[in-house]
Symmetry: C2
Subunit: 412 residues, 2 copies
């Protein structure tokens, strides 16, 4: 398909359009039927056309996806869960790459174009997970853009050698420096944050910190992080993931923290979990950028998940009572433009002159697509269809070199 016109698609914010594509570029987006179409064309039948989804937070290195079903083992705190995870992953180590590939393929089939992947870097796994993710990124080039976060899942200050491993990870190609509950995982709020910010500054990289804390501990962390963003001149380059604590602050504390987050342009990632959630609408009204990611999918932390960004948008909308059309459109933004802003993707969006990357969704608008995400998608990357109509249509997406498993369970 070096040249074609996709007729009668519907943009998120407007009426029906014809989209002219040539040589992997969108040549023109014009009102449907405003000019006769010459050459090959295809009727989208009024379907919604979106830019590729942005999945702002995932853990492909942890997933059991594509392999046997793994029952969830209930655990205690974060520490116990981390240990359980190590034991279970060790037992599955030969297929970690094929599981990550299987999940990445499914994500592309759902329309994902960019993924922020947190990769564990700890004394046990070392850089093995990172190396697998670098191979995955290379294999999926042209299909899926992968931003890799070097994620110190077992801490930095309290975990021998991790500071050096993180440094090496950034040198090898990780894009973003990760962090985790600075006050509790290392028991050293300043030590953890200083390590994270100094590393990011040395590599001119962004930061993405997992925060699960609540109450005064969370307040201290938000303030300490915001202070460092200002001191390091990193406005717009820092994201905080989960941030459950924002869902339980009193009005005065919430107002203070939201103001600081907005001022330092710190983005908040939410995946719509079971418990308290950062209040999406209230944050947006305070000028804070909020975005979403699928987080854990079928791993030792969480049995749920499909990898579908629209299903994620629905879950977050549901958890936040986003019901009106503008609210449902905001939920769609969490996996499109708002996630692109958080990840620093300036070229996201459909426009003439931009790459011919898009997703066709069987819905008549953004609100409908979020309220009842249709499973079937048509996904165009660089002017080529990489997935068509139905998830059961297999494509030529990359497979792991070690892959031997059956197709993923949706497709049996």
């Amino acid at each position: 398909m070096s040249q074609t016109t996709l007729r009668n698609g519907r943009l998120r914010d407007g009426g029906p359009v014809d989209i002219e594509i040539a040589d992997a570029v969108i040549r023109e987006i014009r009102p449907a039927g405003s000019r006769p179409v010459t050459g090959p064309s295809e009727d989208l039948g009024g379907r919604l056309v979106l830019p590729p989804f942005v999945n702002g937070h995932a853990h492909l290195d942890k997933t059991f996806f594509g392999g046997d079903w793994q029952p969830h083992v209930p655990g205690g705190g974060i520490r116990e869960r981390i240990e359980d995870e190590k034991a279970r992953r060790a037992a599955l180590v030969h297929t970690a790459e094929e599981r990550a590939f299987a999940l990445a393929r499914t994500m592309v089939e759902f329309g994902t174009g960019t993924l922020r992947a947190h990769v564990d870097i700890d004394p046990d796994v070392g850089l093995a997970g990172l190396e697998r993710m670098l191979r995955l990124r290379q294999a999926f080039a042209g299909h899926l853009d992968v931003q890799i976060v070097a994620f110190p899942q077992s801490g930095i200050v309290s975990a021998p050698g991790v500071a050096d491993l993180l440094e090496e990870a950034m040198r090898l190609g990780a894009d973003v420096v990760g962090g985790l509950d600075p006050g509790s995982i290392d028991g050293d709020l300043d030590g953890h944050l200083d390590a994270v910010f100094a590393l990011a500054a040395r590599h001119d990289a962004g930061i993405d910190i997992h925060l699960h804390e609540d109450g005064p501990a969370a307040l201290a962390e938000y303030r300490a992080i915001a202070d460092r963003v200002a001191a390091y001149g990193m406005r717009g380059s820092v994201a905080l993931s989960h941030a459950y604590g924002l869902g339980r602050l009193g009005e005065r504390d919430f107002g203070e923290i939201a103001g600081v987050l907005a001022e330092q342009r710190i983005s908040i990632m939410t995946n719509g979990p079971t418990g308290p959630v950062p209040p999406v609408l209230a944050l947006v009204r305070h000028g804070v950028n909020v975005f979403s990611g699928t987080d854990n999918i079928r791993d030792s932390w969480w049995p749920f998940g499909s990898g579908d960004p629209l299903d994620l948008a629905r879950t977050v909308a549901h958890r936040n009572s986003l019901l009106t059309d503008p609210e449902l459109d905001l939920a769609l933004g969490l996996v499109t433009d708002r996630a692109a802003a958080a990840l620093g993707l300036p070229d996201h969006g459909l426009r003439a002159g931009g790459p011919a990357d898009l997703v066709v969704v069987g819905a008549r608008g953004a609100a409908e697509a979020v309220a009842d995400p249709p499973p079937a998608r048509d996904v165009l990357r660089a002017g080529r269809w990489v997935s068509r109509r139905s998830l059961s249509t297999r494509s030529d997406l990359p497979r792991s070199s070690v892959e031997t498993s059956a197709p993923s369970p949706q497709h049996i």
Copy 2:
């Protein structure tokens, strides 16, 4: 397909089986490969085989499904929402039947075998909604069993003529007497409940009451209802829908109410909404039967919903942090055996000698089916496939005589 064997299916609680079917009856369920298969057969490839789903609570008469997308209009309290709904439904009245038919067809395609449909009966709509639902039940006979609840959405004592309309509805073919927030909608706890219980007693029918209240008002309602169940000898015939208040009771009050519910065999219906939810695990541990229903789907109350019972089970599991395999299996029970118990369906389940009604799901077990519901299903009713593999495969399910609309949006 008067005779066939479905080979290598997987039951919810066991290993692979061959299921022999003849003349719309399951002749035998035996370990896979335990006997040579003669005659026609089909390989299920290890897929999960379930009895038809039971959707324990739906409002087909309210849905906008199958028509144009209808933006959600935020409203105030229950009263305002009821008035908004009446206005919007009046504007759509010509297609109410086709919308209900479209949703019922989709439900069957997802594997639903039995549906409890609450139908509004109020001074404005009178019995028109009931009459439409009776026609739908007749049209879907053999595909979908419909239990009709005569639902006084605008109250009984305070709504002129509704008591008589309810009486007439039961005479015309409604199966269950509905009720709604007795203390607030009518402002007359005893008056509302007396009307409901007396009507049910006259028609030897079950009862299903919507309860949205919280705090002391809810406590008074649970106690008043349980007292009447005992007095009328209606143990096992009463369900309470939503019961949000159970999610906020203190431990002592919760223990008292759960004990009373268990003693009177009153079932609790939850659909996993945004706010407080009845705690599924705690109720089950107290011996209370809990079940689920899709509730509102794309109507003036709620924009979400697909009609898929497995997606419903996942939502309830997510809201209740049901994570382990036994917990996810419990979630599946909310739309299978537990819903069957609540609705009084003694013959639910797969067994030799039973009707050849079943659903094939592309998952390897109950936990996986709930954690990531595969959209594609194969649905067998009375030994005939009524839906195969993919939702986009249209079947010969009944259509409304007035239907003119395009296929439902998933299928455009």
